[in-house]
């Protein structure tokens, strides 16, 4: 649920690189595989161990499927946290959305004319190879905080798009209203209103 102005559209969605999910997926795979491995190892060492509990194999299967459901939902909680942390770049501004926890969401926005600098940092072989890095948008205002995203996907493209939007905003001509209250054909702001000697 994003409140965009009339005619405002999203040009770019910026998220972290998919590599941040890799460690979580690997952990999930380990949590799925290890109980199975443990079960078969235990059965090979001591085949009678499952006889200690009624219908040992069926009980283990039941508990294992319940465990898989836990792993599955934890994985999707992590994915949701990843997916809902996003920058939306529109024609007018950047909207920074951060999902901190369930039912705790922080949304900030900054207009392009308030942007002072954009810094991109790509550090290391893996970051270079997979094309991810840190992007920081510095603002001119002391009241608003800088926007930053670590492990952002395709950081150079992000910088390019934000920079071009910033330049477009800066170069846009503004309409000026000329005031001439005494109707003498000379705009008021060009009239000399002082009473002193010329040239002094």
């Amino acid at each position: 649920m994003l409140n965009l102005d009339n005619g405002e559209t999203i040009i770019l969605e910026v998220r972290k690189h998919w590599i941040v999910l890799v460690s979580q997926v690997i952990a999930s795979i380990l949590m799925v595989v290890l109980p199975l491995v443990g079960f078969f190892v235990l059965r090979s060492i001591s085949p009678d161990v499952l006889d200690l509990i009624p219908h040992g194999t069926a009980t283990f299967s039941f508990l294992y499927f319940a465990w898989l459901m836990v792993v599955w939902i934890v994985l999707f909680i992590q994915w949701t946290n990843y997916y809902l942390d996003v920058w939306y770049v529109t024609e007018k501004r950047i909207i920074d959305v951060e999902q901190k926890r369930a039912f705790h969401r922080e949304v900030s926005s900054i207009r392009f004319d308030k942007i002072q600098d954009i810094t991109v940092e790509v550090k290391g072989v893996i970051a270079t190879f997979f094309n991810y890095g840190d992007v920081r948008v510095q603002t001119a205002s002391e009241d608003s905080r800088d926007f930053s995203m670590t492990v952002a996907a395709n950081p150079e493209r992000i910088r390019k798009i934000i920079f071009s939007q910033h330049n477009r905003e800066s170069e846009r001509t503004q309409r000026v209203r000329i005031v001439d209250e005494d109707h003498d054909g000379v705009p008021d702001h060009l009239q000399f209103k002082g009473g002193g000697t010329d040239g002094v």
Partner: protein, 93 residues
């Protein structure tokens, strides 16, 4: 003289297994199954609540994207399969 390995600590005949379960306590299958069933029901309720929270966030903040729609479908289908498999295993008890 008895072989040392054939002498149990309490002096009873070899092959005797001391009682692991105290007298009066029964680990019969019906009570075990009932306990597992009740636990599974509680677990399912919690699972449904957390799933509802996830779906709420996807619908509200997901901007109706295709990724979110795909995630919802995959999550729902696999959850149903896993829950069905758990229930099937439970019915084998």
């Amino acid at each position: 003289m008895r072989h040392p390995s054939k002498v149990c600590y309490d002096g009873r005949m070899p092959g005797y297994m001391p009682d692991l379960i105290p007298d009066g306590v029964s680990l019969s299958l019906p009570s075990f199954k009932a306990f597992l069933g009740a636990s599974f029901v509680v677990f399912l309720v919690l699972y449904i609540v957390v799933s509802a929270v996830l779906v709420f966030h996807w619908r509200r903040y997901g901007m109706h994207s295709r990724s979110v729609a795909l995630a919802e479908a995959v999550f729902g289908i696999v959850s149903l399969v896993l829950a069905g498999s758990a229930f099937l295993a439970f019915s084998q008890l």
